[in-house]
Symmetry: D3
Subunit: 259 residues, 6 copies
C-alpha cells in the first residue's frame, strides 16, 4: 500500500502531523478530518494501549491521513503488533546507540532486512493482501527518536543503520538529558545548534528530520529551519486550550454575573 506521508516527503514537501493521546476512535476520526498529513497514536505518553490504537486506526482509515504509532519502548513484541495493525510509520523512543537503532529497524522489517514476523492482520487490509508483505519494507517509515545527549553524540552511528527513514526529535527529553527543564518549544541557541546538526546529518543521508512541537508558530519555524515533519501539540492539548479559552471568553464578555 502506498504511504502518502512518505510520498509527500519524497516529493520535497514538508508534513504536518497530528497526535492522539485520547483513547477513542471518535476523537481519532475527527482529528483525521482536520487537515493533518499524518497522525500518530501515542502508546508511550498517550492514554493509549494496543486495542485503543486499533480503534483509532480503524476510525482514521476512511480519511486521507497516514497512520503512525509511537511505541512505548524498543520491545519487538509491541513493534510487531502496531505494524500488523496497520501503522505505516513507527516512532520509537530513546534510541541512543547504534545497537538500539539496529534492533528497532530489525523489528520493523521482514527478512532478510530484519526479523519482523509475518501476520499483518489488519495491515494487509489496506492493500492487496498478497502485496503487503512485498512492499512493507519499503513503505513503512522507521523513525527512531533522538532525545538524549547520548543519542546526539552517537548521531552518525545511529543514522548509519540501514533502513532508517526519519529521526524524530523529542525536545523536552533532550532538554532534560542536558540538564534543562522539560521544555517543548525550545529556542535557546545551544538547542538550535543541535537541531541544525541533526538536520544537516539527516540531509546528508536522505533521512527525514522530524520534531515534536507545542504550537503552530514554533512548528512553522522548525519547518523553516529545515525539519521536514513537525507534530503540533496533541488532541487533548488542543481541546484543553480551546476549552479554557472558550470559558474565559464567555465569562469575560458576559460580565460580572458570569465570573
Amino acid at each position: 500500500m502506498a504511504n502518502r506521508l512518505k510520498q509527500r516527503l519524497q516529493s520535497g514537501k514538508a508534513c504536518v502531523n497530528g497526535w492522539l493521546a485520547i483513547p477513542s476512535g471518535f476523537a481519532a476520526e475527527v482529528m483525521a478530518q482536520c487537515g493533518w498529513d499524518g497522525i500518530c497514536v501515542d502508546l508511550q505518553h498517550g492514554v493509549q494501549d494496543y486495542l485503543s490504537m486499533v480503534g483509532c486506526l480503524q476510525a482514521m482509515q476512511a480519511h486521507p491521513v497516514t497512520p503512525v504509532v509511537r511505541v512505548p519502548s524498543n520491545e519487538p513484541g509491541i513493534v510487531g503488533k502496531v505494524l500488523d495493525a496497520g501503522a505505516m510509520g513507527v516512532i520509537c523512543p530513546m534510541i541512543n546507540t547504534r545497537a538500539q537503532a539496529e534492533a528497532f529497524v530489525a523489528s520493523c522489517r521482514y527478512p532478510p532486512a530484519g526479523q519482523r514476523s509475518n501476520g499483518p492482520i489488519r495491515a494487509a487490509l489496506y492493500g492487496q493482501a498478497s502485496s503487503y508483505q512485498r512492499t512493507a519494507n519499503d513503505e513503512v517509515l522507521t523513525m527512531p527518536m533522538i532525545e538524549t545527549q547520548e543519542a546526539v553524540d552517537n548521531l552518525d552511528d545511529i543514522l548509519g543503520v540501514p533502513g532508517i527513514d526519519a529521526v524524530y526529535v523529542g525536545p523536552s527529553d533532550l532538554s532534560l538529558s542536558r540538564g534543562g527543564a522539560p521544555v517543548l518549544d525550545n529556542d535557546d541557541p545551544e538547542t538550535l545548534a543541535i537541531y541544525d546538526r541533526i538536520i544537516e546529518a539527516c540531509n546528508r543521508r536522505g533521512i527525514v528530520p522530524a520534531i515534536h512541537t507545542g504550537h503552530p508558530d514554533h512548528a512553522s519555524r522548525m519547518l523553516q529551519r529545515g525539519f521536514r515533519l513537525v507534530s503540533v501539540s496533541n488532541d487533548i492539548g488542543l481541546m484543553a486550550q480551546a476549552a479554557t479559552a472558550a470559558v474565559q471568553a464567555t465569562r469575560q464578555a458576559a460580565g460580572p454575573v458570569a465570573r
Copy 2:
C-alpha cells in the same frame, strides 16, 4: 450532597457549562480542569452510552465541576440509571407537553414527589450514604428541553409542573421544528423573541433559563439577554476547531513547502 451548580445559580450568578461527546474519562477529566461550572455528558447526540458516562463521571469527580447528563429520551430506566450513577442534573430532550414534563420529573424524584427507584449506587458515594436520599429531591436539577414550537406553545403548562428547576433550550431543533435550518447560534428577531418569552416565563416562576450555544460570543450574548446557564460547543468541536486552525497556521507560516 451539595450541588455547586445549583448553589451558584441560587446566588444569582450565571453558569458556563461544558459538554462531553467523546466517550473517554480522560477527555472528561481534562475538560473538568478548564474552568466550567458544570459539565454535561451527552447520551443523546454524543458518542456516549451508560458505561462511558460512568467513566466520565468518575474522572470528573476530583474536580470542581457539577456533573450533568443529557438522556437520550424520556424513558424512566435511563433517567434512573444516570441519577444513580451520580448525575446532579438531568437534561431531557423533547419535552413538549405537560404530561411529558410530569413523567420526566417523576423519574427524577423519590416518592412522594415522584417515582424514582432507590439504589444510588454511585451517587451515594458523593456524600454521606445515609443522607443522599434525604437531599436528592432538593439537589438534583431537572432540566427539560424546550426545543419545538409545540413546547413553546405549551410553555406555561410545562413550567407549571412542580419540581422543574430549569429549562434547556435546544436552538437547532427549535429552528427545525419552526421550518428553519438547524442553526445553533440564532439571532433572528423571531427566535430572540421566543427566547425572551422563555426567559420571562422562567423568571416569573424562579426557574433557570438555559441554552445551548456554539461559540463564546453568542454564549455571552445569551447570558446578557437573561439566560442563566449556557453551554458552549463541546469537547470534540473545540478540539476540531483548534486542530484545523493549528494545521492551517503551521502550513501558512511555514510557507509553500508545507502546503
Copy 3:
C-alpha cells in the same frame, strides 16, 4: 436447557441468590464460585449495561449458578436482549398494575404465550440449539417486582397474570412509597404484615415469593417467614464491608503506629 434455580424451587428448597453491581466478568466468575444458587446481574441499580452483563453471563457459565438479570425498566427491547443473552430469569422493577405485568410477561414469552422475538444468540448455546425455543417459555423465570403500595393494592390482579413465576419484593422502594425511609432490612410490623400477605397470596397460586435483603441474618429470617428466594447484599457491598473491617482490624491490632 434446564434451569437449576427453578428445579430447586420446585423441589421445595429455598434459594440464596447473589447480586452483581460490578461490571466485570472476573468479579462475576468469582462470585459464581461462592455457593449461591442463582446470581443476578443488575442492569437497574448496578453499574452494568448490556455488554458488561454479557461478560458476566459468559464468565458464570462454567459454574453451577443460574443466571438472572434485573432489567432497568419494563421496556421490551432490553427484556428481549437479556433473554437472548442467556438469562434464565428476569426481574423487572416497578410492576404496579396488571397491565404492566401482562406487558412484562409478553416480553418474556414466545408466541402464543407472548410476543418475544426469536433470536436467542447466546441463550441457545446453553442447550441444544434446536430445543431452546421449545422449552424457553417453561424454563425462563419471570419475576416482577412488588415494590410500591400500588403494587400491593393490585397484588391479586398482578399475580393473576398467566406466566408469572415469582414476585420479587423491593423493600427499600416499598418503604419509600409508603412514606418511610429507604430501608432494606425492615422489621416493623406493618411491613412484615405486607410480606406475609404477599407470601400467602403467592402460595395460593404456586408463585415463588422472593425478596432482596442486606444481611444474612435478615435473609434467613425472611426464608423462615416463608420467602423462597432471598438475595443477600451484592458484590460491591460485601467487598466494601470486608475491606473496611480488614483495615480497621489491622490498625486496631497493630496499635497506635497504624492509626
Copy 4:
C-alpha cells in the same frame, strides 16, 4: 451523503446484505471486504450495543458497503442514536400497526416529515457537515419489520405510511406468530403465499421488499421470487459453520488418529 444501497436498489438491482452479531470493529471491517452491498449491525438479537455499533460503523467506513442498523425496539432514543452515529438504513422490529409504523418513521425523519432531533455527531462526517441534514430524510432507508400475522393483516395500513422505503420480513418470528416453529428458510406454500403478497404490495407502492435468510440457496430463491434485498446468515453463523466443517474435514482426512 449518497446511500449506495439505495442507489443500487433504485437502479433496479437486487442487494445482498451482511449481518453483524459480533461486537467487534475488526470483524466488521473484514466483513466489509467480502462483497456485501450493505451490512447491518444487529442491536436486537446480536451481541451488540450502541458503542460496539459505533466501532463497527467506524471500521466499515473505508469500505464500499452501506451501513444499516437494526434497533432493539421502536424506541425513539435508540433510533436517533443509531442515525446520529451514521446508519444509512434502520431496520425496526415488530411493526404491527400503522401507528407503530408512523412512530418509527417520525423517529427517522427531521421535521417537518418527522420528529428526529438534530445532532448527527458521526453521520455528518460522512458528507459535507452542512449538507447532511438537508439530504438525510431522502437518503436514510426506513425498514420496518413485518414479522407477525398481525403485521401481515395490517400490511396495507403500514405500507401506506409516508416515508417507508422498504419492509424487512423476519421469517422465524412470522412463523412463530402463526403457530409454527422458528424456521428461517421457510418454503411451505402458505408462507410463500404471504411472501408473494408482501412483494406485490410493496411493488405497487415502490417499496423495497426485503427478507432475512439463512443460506445462499434460499437467499437466491427469494431474490428470484421478487425480494429486492436479502440478508444471508450472519458473521458468527458463517464462522461457526466454516469452523465446524474445517474441524470435521481435518479429522476425516487425517484418519483415526485425529478423531
Copy 5:
C-alpha cells in the same frame, strides 16, 4: 487441573486446534463449540490484548476445549500474565536459540524448575485453588515456535532444554527467513524435509511436533506426515472465506439482477 489437550496427546491421538484473532468473548465461545481440541488466543498477530484474552478464556471455560495462548514475544511479564489468566498452553514466537528457549521455559515454570511468580488469579479457579500450583509445572504445555532457519539449525539445542512439551512450526516466517514468500501451506520438498527433520527430532525426545496451517487439506496431510497438533486457519479467516463464498453464491444463483 487436568489438561485435556495434553491427555489426548499423551494417549497417542492427534489434536486439531482453533485460533482466535477477533477480540471477542462471543466469537470465542462459539468457536469453543465447533469441535476443536484446543483453541489458541493469539496475542502476537491477532487483534488481541491481555483483557480481550481474559474475555475469551472466560467465555471458553464452559466448553470442552483447552485454552492456549500465543504471547507477542518472549517477555516474562506477559508469559506470567497469560498463565495466571488460565492458559494451559503457551506458544512463544521466535525461539531461535537454546538461551531463548531456557528463558521461555523459566517464565512458564514455578521454582525450582523455573522462575514463574506465584499468583494464578484465574488459573486457580480452574481447579482446586490449593492444587493448581502443585500441578501447573506438569500440566502447562510449553510450545516454543520454530520459525527461522536459525531455529532449525539450533533444533537439537532447543529441544534439549528441559521442560519443553511441544514445538510449534510457523511456516510463513520459516519461509521468509529462508528467502521465500510468506506461504502458510507449503509443500515444496525442501520445506517438507525440514518438517520431517523436526518431527523426527521431536519424536526422539517425546516432544509434540505442531504446525500452523491454512486449510483442512493441508492440515490433514501434516497430521499424516507426523505432526501431532495442527491449527487450521483462524476465526476471522474462516468467517471471511465463508462470507465471500455466501455473497458470490447468492449473486450467482439469483442471476444478473444481483450482480
Copy 6:
C-alpha cells in the same frame, strides 16, 4: 504533588495498603472509601492492564488514598506508562540483583537521577502542571520486590542503589524460591528471621520495609514486627470470603430448607 503515603511514612506512622485485582473503576472507587492509606493496582497478578489501571486511578482520585501500581515486569515502557498515568508509587517484581534494581530506579526517575522520559499525561493533572516534573523524583515511591533467595542474598547490594524508597516482600514467591509452598502468611522461624534481616537492613538505610499479607491478624503482626507498610488481601479475595460467608450464614440460620 504531595504523596500522602510518603508523608505518613515519614511521620513515623505505619500504612495499610489495599490491592486491586478487579479491572473496574467502580470497584476501585469503593475500595478507595474503605480507609486504606494507599491502594495498589496490580498489573502483574491482577486481572488488570494499562487502560483498566487508568480507570482505577481516575476513580480513586477524588478519595484520600495514594495510588500505587505493581508493574508486570522490570520493563521500562510499562514503568513509564504507569507513572505518566499518575502512580505515586511503583512496585516492581523480581528484583534480584543490583543491576535490576538500578534499571528499575532509572525507569522511575527523570534525568539526571535516571532515564524516565518526559510526558506525565495524567500525573501532571494531580498537581500544578509546571511543578510535577520538578518534584516527581522526590515524591514517587520506588518499591522493588524482594521475593527470592537470590534477592535476599543480594539485599545489601540492592538496598545500596540510590533512589530506592521501600522494599516490598513477596512472601509466597520467597517461599517458592526457597523450596516451600506458596504460602502468603508465613510464620515459620526461618522466614521470620529473613523478614527481621530485611527490616533491619532497611532501617539502617532509612528505607521502608513493606510486605504483602493475606489477613488482618498477620498484617498487624508484621507491623508489630517492624514492617512499615502492609497490604492486606485484595478486592476480589475480600469479596469472595465475604460472599462465601454470607451464603453459608444464610443457609445455616434458615435451616434445612435452604441447604
